[in-house]
Symmetry: C2
Subunit: 332 residues, 2 copies
Amino acid sequence: MGRNIAIVGATGAVGQEFMSIIDERKFAFSSLKMLASARSAGKSITFQGKEYPVEELTKDSFKRVDIALFSAGAGRSKEFAAAAVAAGAVVVDNSSAFRMTPDVPLVIPEINPQDIKKHKGIIANPNCSTIIAIVPVWPLHKVNPVKRMVVSTYQAASGAGQAAMLELEEQSREVLAGKPVTCKALKYQLAFNVFSHNSAMLPNGYNEEEMKMVHETHKIFHCPEIAITATCIRVGVLRAHCESINLEFRDPITPDEVRELLSTAPGVTVMDDRVNNRFPMPIDASGKDNVLVGRIRQDESIPDNRGINLWVAGDQLRKGAALNAIQIAELL
Amino acid sequence: MGRNIAIVGATGAVGQEFMSIIDERKFAFSSLKMLASARSAGKSITFQGKEYPVEELTKDSFKRVDIALFSAGAGRSKEFAAAAVAAGAVVVDNSSAFRMTPDVPLVIPEINPQDIKKHKGIIANPNCSTIIAIVPVWPLHKVNPVKRMVVSTYQAASGAGQAAMLELEEQSREVLAGKPVTCKALKYQLAFNVFSHNSAMLPNGYNEEEMKMVHETHKIFHCPEIAITATCIRVGVLRAHCESINLEFRDPITPDEVRELLSTAPGVTVMDDRVNNRFPMPIDASGKDNVLVGRIRQDESIPDNRGINLWVAGDQLRKGAALNAIQIAELL
């Protein structure tokens, strides 16, 4: 017997991905409720051959719901998660609303599944770029603590939602036709361009996306002493993020050791073919569950063989969002 | 009275850019010889209203030539540079052929113009990603030595030549039309994708592009002790490279000090508008002479305020290649 599930943000890019993953993983549910803003209410979504009405999200939406998968932005989560919890649901929240709230577990099932037990109604799903970075770092950190991490991201349009993905395609058509470029979902041109991540700028000069990487990693690893710095950049890719990750470990570690540890790590696929220059690309990661890892090299700029460079690619909508949330729901 | 100039590789992307820059900077020349492979010989190039025949590059091409600007790949440079020198020309070579040869100066005019004097007929132009990275690092290094540099690049198609630029556009049209993607100039799909740089893989797992950054910086700065590690990535951009640069200095340094040092540095434009999230983008840098620098932040993962993050963008064909070579020619 399955649970009663509600999807909040059912018409969004992550909402759509929730359904693909529920279907693929044969996630058992008794009922499925599609919730979205008033603007989308009245539409319907066909899923597994059945038509579901899209209902307007209100505080009364959660009667008899066991698990509410939220992916409708931090504002909606802040407004409606408490109502879902009060109605008896467990909220798995994909937004940033509660991630750093002390009694809300922030969970990547491959890393800290035990934290789920401590929930008081809400479990937070980490930010996409954090998940994709640290799923492959954790198996290394467990055997040889990471002292410092320097990350530069190559993030897809999907992180800014379905409108941004469509806009990237439309902008590309415009550039190829020599027309002026339309920027609505995104502030700047993304087609044939890259730009600093569009999240809010903080007083220290880092954007929110960059500081999420720092704070969320500390919380998920239960290790606030790792020194982390990040530079988050959007590139003209549709739905998979890449990241260049430079790691300093406490003790010496070789690329072969890294490759061996990662070859059996959950959620990770090593793709590190130096002979054919074949390393993870967004088009490889798109639609895949695992984070792909390659370019595993000794960082010769750190003494005593304590440095490693990695290059990773992961599907922002799947492991970066919907898949991780469904994995949490499976553990509930 | 100007000099007699030969352009080797006149029909290539950098060759074309040599001409734009000669025109813009009113570089005085008495004669201009357009040299290319036999395949292009017989074509003609119109420059400043005059038609120039494209002649086949041979060892006899350099009679009465004063300065030969080579940009036709390392193979051609190795084969023909000695003939140019024997004929009395000074070779400014944009290829990797002689960059690390001990008695060949490797010059960025903003950094080590004095090295030009030591030339024995050949002066090497550094690799594009090195130039774009270190033009803004040098003014900082001069006052506070850089101990370590971690660089991740976002490199444009132009670095792989004109065919790669056209292929990126063609691939984009194919993806948008739902057609299979053609890979000829590039090994992998670049449209709506990114991939690890297509240069040859070395035994240590780094590609040539990455090790150029290490060795060339050491030579240009006359400072072999800087620890450098790089990850070089191609992105779907036409002609300007971006780079995420993490710097560890010997002594404390603040973002304000960096901003002030860079605001008067030659070849650098600070574009660091946190309020409007307005930072260097490839479309800003394209066609510009200066390297644009922004995202100037204290790296909080390095103790004692000795860490700085930078984000730079520079035109690969201009400062990354042709402009730097013409600046060297101007100094001759």
